[in-house]
């Protein structure tokens, strides 16, 4: 197990370098960011040259990348065009997005698995058909439609929530945005759990457990659910990274100043430092989440062993 973890950690290094290099190249292909800093006019050449020097944009790209990566290892993610260090932006944005992700993941786990178990156990019944139809609807409607609709209904028409989230972005305020963000994944979790449960329900060990006379809830939680959760855990694990990076739409609709907001600003203003910095951290989140998922397998199913 220990060796496996170390091997996985080592594998992360090339992935990390490759991903950051790619995003660095992609942002730089878009051209000179200084050009857009002076509004509808051209920056005067002297100031532009000075700014380019300050942000290190006058050096060849490979050198910029090396300097950048060197700085990253000392915890220096550079400075955004507003004069704010990127680390400061991260300190503001990540806690908010992490809270939003937690809310979304909780929805996925609680509602998604619950519905999955219920429908899986009652396959073919009206409840099952109903939930299946519902998840189909949720999957087929784009997130921004769900988001704008809920915002309009809950926020403006009925006045249950505030349409926009305050800068504090407390858990309470993030429930509706979290639900919107989770909606599509939630539907997938439901379907995955349902299939898995329905399949395992007919397996030998479940029949044995039932034959032993174990109470129904014990059969379900201890025997059926534990085995059925493996694909679901895989999905939710990879979803953590996807939710954090993919929150751009949801964060924009509800005016949440998280990672999606900073990434959006960074891309529009072509701010290399912001974009590369945030993506670097997101890559790390992805990698760690994947690692955790793999480790969880062994916990859920002792038959899966790592040499």
């Amino acid at each position: 197990m220990g060796r496996y973890v170390i091997r996985r950690l080592l594998q992360m290094i090339p992935v990390f370098i490759g991903a950051t290099l790619l995003i660095f190249l992609m942002v730089n292909v878009m051209g000179d960011p200084i050009a857009g800093l002076c509004g509808e006019r051209q920056c005067d050449p002297a100031t532009a040259a000075q700014l380019r020097k300050e942000f290190g944009l006058d050096k060849p790209l490979w050198q910029q990348y090396l300097t950048y990566m060197g700085n990253v290892f000392t915890g220096d993610f550079g400075t955004a065009f507003t004069g704010q260090p990127v680390t400061e932006l991260m300190a503001d944005a990540f806690p908010v997005t992490i809270r939003l992700t937690i809310v979304a993941i909780l929805f996925e786990i609680v509602i998604g698995i619950l519905l999955g178990v219920v429908t899986g156990l009652r396959r073919g019944r009206p409840v099952d058909t109903g939930v299946l139809l519902l998840t189909l609807v949720v999957i087929s409607i784009p997130t921004f439609v769900t988001g704008l609709l809920l915002q309009l209904l809950f926020g403006v028409e009925w006045g249950w929530i505030r349409p926009s989230v305050s800068p504090d972005a407390t858990f309470g305020e993030l429930i509706v945005p979290g639900l919107v963000l989770a909606s599509v994944s939630l539907a997938y979790v439901t379907r995955l759990t349902r299939t898995s449960i329905a399949e395992n329900k007919r397996s030998d060990y479940v029949r044995t457990a039932v034959a032993k006379g174990l109470p129904r809830h014990r059969v379900i939680t201890k025997h059926l659910l534990r085995n059925s959760l493996i694909p679901v855990v895989t999905f939710i694990g990879t979803d953590i990274g996807a939710l954090m990076g993919g929150a751009i739409v949801t964060e924009r609709i509800f005016n949440i100043h998280g990672v999606g907001y900073q990434l959006y600003q960074g891309i529009v203003r072509q701010n290399t430092q912001t974009v590369v910095g945030f993506v670097t951290v997101l890559v790390l989140v992805f990698l760690v989440a994947n690692l955790l998922v793999d480790l969880l397998y062994a916990v859920l199913d002792p038959r899966i062993r790592y040499a």
Binding site: A35, G36, L37, C38, V156, P167, H257
Partner: protein, 545 residues
Amino acid sequence: MRGATHATWAVGAVAVALVATACGGGGGGGGGGSGGASGVLSSSWGDPQNPLEPSNTNEVQGGKVLDMIFRGLKRYDARTGAAQNMLAQKIDTSDSQNFTITVKDGWTFSNGEPVTAQSFVDAWNYGASLKNNQKNAYFFGYIEGYDKVHPETGTQSADTLSGLKVTGAHTFTVKLNQKFSTFPDTLGYVAFAPLPKAFFSDHAAWLKKPIGNGPYTVDSYTKGSMMSLRKWGAYPGTDKAQNGGVDLKVYTDNNTAYTDLLAGNLDLVDDVPAAQLKNVKSDLGGRYINTPAGIIQTIAFPFYDQAWDKSGVENVRKGLSMAINRDQITSTIFQKTRTPASDWTSPVLGAAGGFQDGLCGASCRYDPAQAKKLIQDGGGLPGGQIKISYNADSGSHKEWIDAVCNSINNALGNDKACVGNPIGTFADFRNQIGQHKMPGPFRAGWQMDYPLIQNFLQPLYYTNASSNDGKWSNKDFDKLVDQANAETDKAKAIQLFQQAEGVVRDNMAAIPLWYQNGSAGYSDRISNVALNQFSVPVYNEIKVS
């Protein structure tokens, strides 16, 4: 039994949390406050692009704040746009080149430091100096010694402008490197604001919480999220704040801001999203403002490309202008928040300031038959097709460019005559313009720095001027502008500028499309809301009930 307990718990927690949000939803919005002169209003805001310094702010969002916390020598009247003395006692000149400025006594910054002549000279020197990277440095380009402090290449050989001299506690002199009769009227621009000593002694702290001399002080500033401004009780000016303060809230999307306004969580939105213009009247009734701003949208040409610089091609340019149905586009796409342009300035200047309705004449009137004829006379479209470049990341540029092209295609009876050429980001768009790589005409928007006809002509059409992106060059135009700048009589200067504008018209150096309006919507908590010529709300006059 354990499993079941867990599930109940989780469901219970969600239910409790949902109830909690519902409770939190109603209150806390709108900024609260008891109303009257102490009431605080909330307003939508965008994250400023650059650090908040007077000579480093060139976009509306940062300018909004500086307009609240700074007062300069002059101030533009919110309704007429006329430059009126604010901190200036008087500005004297005999030759339009040497100016003596007297600063009013009794003004202080909000930290108690008096505003003196030195406060201005220090600020201007800071703004001009190359090593400070100020994006508005070119505003000081008319002052003598600018080329030493801010050379085009290499390092600066002086730290201060030789044209600025402090002659007393409240007087200083300015020597310009050329005659510029309307120079005093430019001093209302925020780049010319005075700066307190705290700005220089602890710059980082100042940026965290700016200190100025305007009717408001910064109470708290969370970068990227919110700025709370409060009325400064000891403000010495006559334009004191009529409300207790303003909370500026950053919105990524103006649609969300508008939704918040409808839900009663926001008092003022100063940029109604294009998609909502259709409903705004029914949503807000009379609480919607749509007033002209000093912004004109044009189509510029790449004169560095031989195909556009030949003689005779001006007929093609005029023909293209006549092929655009401005009335139809402004009413259908922009819901009349744009006014078809008939000159190259803006109505906010007023007739006395140089705006001349209809100066463009027949060239700006929709006439498809004549348009087709003119373009054929001029040798047809260069390359048989034109591509109009624009940045696709902001505004509704795509919609109107497509409409303009449609209009041109219909007039020419050729649906491939004009196509849009979207460029991903604004930065890349500016980049390609700067490198003179435009494959054809391109969108050019101009927001005035100060309400002067000079500002609509010289930076855009003078040979090698800072914003002459198409590299248009015309000796007659340059001569007339020089004459106008040297003219001490204001009325005559404006006449000369209008003559110069005539040269722009005869050559169709750029196609004027429409003047842009500022649009704003507000809640029933506030009243006396107006937008100034820069489409920024006049915050200090807003009353909270």
